[in-house]
Every structure is written in C-alpha cells, then in structure tokens.
C-alpha cells in the first residue's frame, strides 16, 4: 500500500546491505503465539496437531521450520498467516490480535500484512505473470498506473521484468515461483510466509529462490517464516525451529 516504502524498496534492492539476522536485533516480536492448540476431527476422532505451542518471531528475522511430514508445520504457518484459526490460544501478528477478527477482517488484514509463497506456486493459470502479481493490489485504492508501477518494481526485484506478459505455463518452475514471490511482496507486506517454497523445484532453481528470499530479508527487511524439508534451505535461515509432537523442540 505504501508507495514510498515500495519505491524505497526499489532503491535498496540490488544494493548490498548489511548482513542482517533478525535474531540478533529483535527485541520486539512480530509474531507471538501462546498456548496454541489445534485439533482436527476426522469423523469423531480428534487429531491433536498442535498442543500448547508457544512461539516468538522477532521482527526482521528469517526463520525456517522443519519437522516430519504431518507434524503440523503447514497448520502452524496457516495460523500465523491468519488463514486458519487455532482451537485455543492467542495469536498476535504485526501488532494485531487475530482472535476476535471476523473472517472478512482477517481477509483484509492478510492482504495488507502477509505475503504468501506456496510449494506449488498457485499462480492463476489464466492470468499473465503481471496480472497475477497485480491481484493483491486490486484490494488497495491504488490507481491503475500506480498498480502497474508496483507490479513492474516487484517483477524487477525477482528479475523477471522480461516475463511480464507470459502465462504461468510458459514459465519454468523456478520462474513461476519467482512470480509468486513477486506477488507476495507487491503489497509490501510485513511478513512473508513460505510453505516448502523449494519443494517442487530442482536444485538450481531452489537456490535461486532461496537467494531471492535472503535478499528480501536482508535488503527489504522482510520477516520470513519458511516451512521446509530441505536442509540446504534451512541453512539460509537465521533460525531453524523443529516441530515435533505438537510443540516446538
């Protein structure tokens, strides 16, 4: 939304910044979870996925979350992102208490606060790269021209300014994921959540994406919370957390 911040982002993008590890500076937390439980029901049988989980993510950090398949990583990520609600416990993200928000308030909040990166990219196949990136801006009051500028900036940050009018099927997996990242940052969100962003990519593309995420963290000061299986991916993060048996180890 903030045009200035975005222009600033363009200026800083590409300029080598100070190495930045959220963990070293953060006194203030951007994510605070306390006593989170999440129980799904399969029929009448409860599946306790999260059991009294606490989490503090300092502002500006780059965190990786690992854990066995089915341990609840995606569930936790969705709760942080305001996409899912915990069965009990309190969720504070970017200064907001998500608990009392209505579904539509939550949707609005997401559009302003969260950038999503998914394992399978989730680009809209019928829209071009630029149109995909523009989607979150439709929820702002920006003019068409301003939206176009923001889209161009975001596409430049992911080095795909020459693929603006390509459709997803005309792009490689790595390029698709970079478009998805452009879409995640175009609204200048405070936090980027990524659920196994390199899971569907070959090594080379995965490394490109990880390098890009590192830059977003260091240069654009985005807090990144990334679920991953990939040790090489976790290595890029400042903090690696492990989820097992419903709690962080």
């Amino acid at each position: 939304m903030s045009e200035n911040q975005m222009t600033e982002a363009t200026k800083t993008a590409g300029a080598p910044g100070e190495p930045y590890r959220g963990t070293t500076t953060g006194t203030e937390s951007i994510v605070t979870l306390s006593k989170i439980t999440k129980t799904f029901f399969r029929g009448s049988e409860p599946i306790r996925v999260l059991e009294g989980l606490d989490l503090d993510v300092p502002n500006g950090s780059f965190e990786a979350l690992m854990g066995p398949s089915g341990s609840g990583k995606s569930t936790l990520l969705n709760i942080i992102a305001g996409l899912d609600r915990p069965t009990s416990g309190a969720v504070r993200v970017a200064g907001a208490d998500l608990g009392p928000m209505s579904d539509s308030e939550l949707a609005r909040w997401r559009s302003q606060t969260i950038g999503f990166v998914f394992q399978s990219f989730n680009l809209i196949p019928v829209l071009t790269a630029a149109q995909n990136v523009e989607l979150p801006l439709l929820l702002t009051s920006l003019s068409r021209a301003d939206r176009a500028r923001h889209v161009a900036t975001a596409m430049r940050i992911v080095s795909l300014e020459d693929r603006m009018h390509h459709y997803p099927r005309q792009l490689s997996g790595g390029q698709e994921q970079r478009v998805a990242i452009a879409r995640a940052i175009v609204n200048d969100p405070k936090i980027i959540v990524a659920d196994e962003p390199t899971g569907d990519l070959d090594r080379k593309s995965a490394d490109d994406v990880l390098t890009l995420m590192e830059r977003l963290n260091k240069e654009l000061k985005k807090t990144i919370f990334m679920v991953t299986h990939d040790p090489a991916a976790a290595e890029r993060a400042g903090v690696v957390r492990k989820l097992d048996k419903g709690a962080l180890q």
Partner: protein, 405 residues
C-alpha cells in the same frame, strides 16, 4: 417503462466489480475466454431461450401493432348494441344520417357505413382453405383512411365489382391477388385491380370493394355492419357517445376505434403471448440449470484458484460477486446472441386466425426497444439465478482445504 430501468440496473450490477474493484474481474473474464467451448455452449443455450422469449414478445408486439395501428383516437366505431365485432353487427341505412347530426362530428371527415363479411377461400399453396375478410365501403371510405396507400395496380372504380387487396394476404389465396378474381357468391365475382398498404395494420389482411356492389351480391342492401364517424377532436368522444347511446330512436354501442381494436387484440395477444411465454419459461428453467451446471463445474475445477484468491485477501463477498458476475456476463453474452438472431424473425410472416372475425390476418414479429431490453434483462436474470448457488459454493471454499487438495 420498466424494462429499460431494470436493464440499467443489471448493467450496473454487471459492471459493479469495476467500481468496487475488490473483485478480480480480469480473472473471471479470462476464465470465460479460456474455457471457450463450455462458455460457447452455455451461451448458445441461453441464446436459444432468449430467442424464444424475445420471439414471443415480438409476436405480441406484432399483434398489437397490426390490430391497433388501424385505430384512431378521433374516430368512433358504432355497432348495434350487443355486438362485439363488425361482423355480427347490423345497422339500418336510415340511421346513418342521424349519426351525422351531433356537433362533435367533423364536417370534413364525415361518416361512413360499411359492410363486413367473410368468405372462405382456398389457399394459393393448395393446403386447405381459410376465411378472408371483405369490407364494402362507400366511395369516400378510401379517403376516410389517409394511411391507405396503393402499392400496385389502381384504385377500384366506384359502383363496379372491382376491389383492392391488402398486402398482408395478397397472393396467399386463390384468386385474391391483383389481376385475379374470386367469387363472393356463385357468379358474383370481385375483380382485384390493385394492392394496398395501411401502416401495417390489420386492414392489410382485408379485401376492400364497393359497398353497394357487395351488399347487392349478398342481398343485404338495407343494412351496414358498422358506421365510422370522424370527430372534430379526440376529446369530443364522451359527449358524442352520450348523445348517441342515449338516443331513444335506436340502440347503438359507441366505441373509440382504437379501443375497439385494442379489445380485439387482447384475446389474441394473451393467447399467443401466453403460449410463447410458457415456452420461454420452460426453456429458461433448462437454460438456468445449464448455466448452473456450467458454473458449478467451473467452481469445482477452480477450487485451488479460489483458495489462492482467498489467501491473498479476497473476501467471501468478493468471490461471490466475481462468480455471479461471471455467470451473468456469460448469459448476457448469450442474450446478445439471441437478441441479434431474433431479428431474423422480423422477416417471417405469420398467418393467424383472428378470433373476433374468424378470418385470417397476417402478423409479423415486431421489433421494439422494450422487447430487446426485456430479453437482455431476462438473460442476465437467468445467469444471476443460475449462477447463484455455484457462486455461494465458491464463496464458501476454505482456503486451507483448497490448498491441501
């Protein structure tokens, strides 16, 4: 008129996403374009319904046009009390002069008494026979109707068995075309010498000849069927009617000519319009179900995309609106196709029996802006209703579930 207002409302609704902007219109538009075959088939289904719907409205419009174009506000039709139509009415010659008396009567236009009969004639194409209405009029009967235009041939000479035929039925029956002749009765032929038009009114489905010749042929010299009186001003009607209907010397019914035809057209247009509308409603149910199935398939197919949009922050309402719009635009496109195709119907002539005279009149499907507006509105409504449940379903997609799938 209601239709244009409703149409404007619908256009407003369809373009609403462009104003509120929180709806990914591009996404819906592109989705329609990408699913070319499904979109086209659905749109054509809607087009067919709109074709039937607009067709029935155009037919109704055609009936009104044909039967009311003949009526003028400043002209009065006098029938014997108890008759509903010229055909069943008889008025003695001696009364005609009395109708001229009141001050409201235009001295220039005057008063004409006419005889109206039906004859059975064989169809020119050999398929059966039907009734044809023949009107015998005095020499000033032609001038009484300024809308009369000779299309070919010449005017009949007064006092002879010459006649002219309206363009609507000319050539449809054996002997009833310029240069031919047909029999009113055995050895009493009428000679057709010309063809006329009369503003598309039902007069164009009549044969016009000489009053006295026709009466003599039938042995009804002493009576006319109806009398038409031209008034000075349309507002004079009530006064004139009171004068005539209260006159104790005779028992007559006085109607505005326009009302007389309006009444005739009512039964027909209710019948035909009703049939057309019944067909359209049946069809529209099918089309609505078709649109619903198409949209439902689209929603199922695009669950993941919907989940993504929800994750990005589009609200349930945005998704609902966007799928409603998609459905409405889809069926409006069908509506436009239907409305364009239905124009072809205006080239078609429809012969039909007028219940009041039991004679054949020829209708045309009549294009009117109201018909087009109603049809488009109707197509949009089908999309809206057909798309409602799929759109609700789309708005209920849980982003978390959609992503897990």
């Amino acid at each position: 008129m209601l239709a244009p207002i409703l149409l404007v409302l619908m256009v407003f609704f369809v373009t609403l996403p462009l104003w509120v902007r929180s709806v990914p219109v591009q996404y819906n538009a592109r989705s329609l374009l990408v699913r070319k075959v499904t979109t086209l088939v659905t749109a054509l289904g809607i087009a067919l319904v709109v074709f039937v719907f607009a067709g029935s409205l155009m037919l109704r419009e055609g009936i009104n046009r044909v039967l009311t174009a003949a009526g003028r506000a400043d002209t009065v039709v006098i029938l014997r009390k108890g008759s509903d139509a010229e055909l069943s009415s008889a008025i003695g010659n001696e009364y005609i002069g009395l109708f001229r008396g009141p001050a409201q009567v235009s001295q220039a236009g005057g008063v004409i008494g006419e005889i109206v009969i039906v004859v059975t004639a064989d169809r020119a194409d050999g398929f059966g026979a039907s009734n044809v209405l023949v009107r015998g009029m005095p020499p000033d009967g032609f001038a009484f109707r300024p809308e009369l235009k000779l299309a070919s041939g010449r005017m009949p000479r007064p006092g002879t068995n010459e006649a002219i035929v309206g363009r609507g039925i000319s050539g449809r029956f054996k002997g009833i075309a310029p240069g031919q002749s047909f029999e009113l009765r055995r050895n009493r032929p009428l000679q057709i010498v010309g063809e006329f038009t009369a503003d598309g009114s039902s007069y164009e489905s009549e044969v016009w000849g000489d009053l006295d010749v026709i009466r003599r042929s039938l042995g009804r010299e002493a009576v006319v069927s109806s009398v038409r009186v031209r008034l000075n001003r349309p507002e004079d009607f009530d006064a004139y009617r009171q004068t005539i209907e209260n006159d104790k010397r005779f028992s007559m019914k006085v109607m505005r000519e326009a009302d007389y035809y309006q009444k005739q057209s009512q039964a027909l247009s209710t019948f035909l319009g009703g049939m057309g509308l019944a067909a359209a409603i049946l069809f529209s149910l099918a089309a609505m179900i078709g649109a619903a199935i198409t949209m439902n398939g689209a929603v199922a197919h695009r669950t993941r995309e919907i989940g993504t949009l929800r994750a990005l922050g589009f609200s349930r309402r945005s998704i609902l609106l966007s799928f409603l719009t998609e459905a409405t635009v889809l069926s409006l496109a069908g509506g436009v196709i239907g409305v364009i195709a239905v124009q072809l119907l205006s080239l078609v002539k429809v012969p039909i029996i007028n219940f009041q005279t039991f004679s054949e009149i020829v209708l045309r499907f009549q294009v009117a802006p109201g018909v087009l507006a109603w049809s488009l509105w109707f197509s949009g409504l089908m999309g809206l209703l057909g798309g409602l449940f799929p759109a609700i379903r789309a708005s209920r997609v849980s982003p978390v579930e959609a992503m897990r799938a």
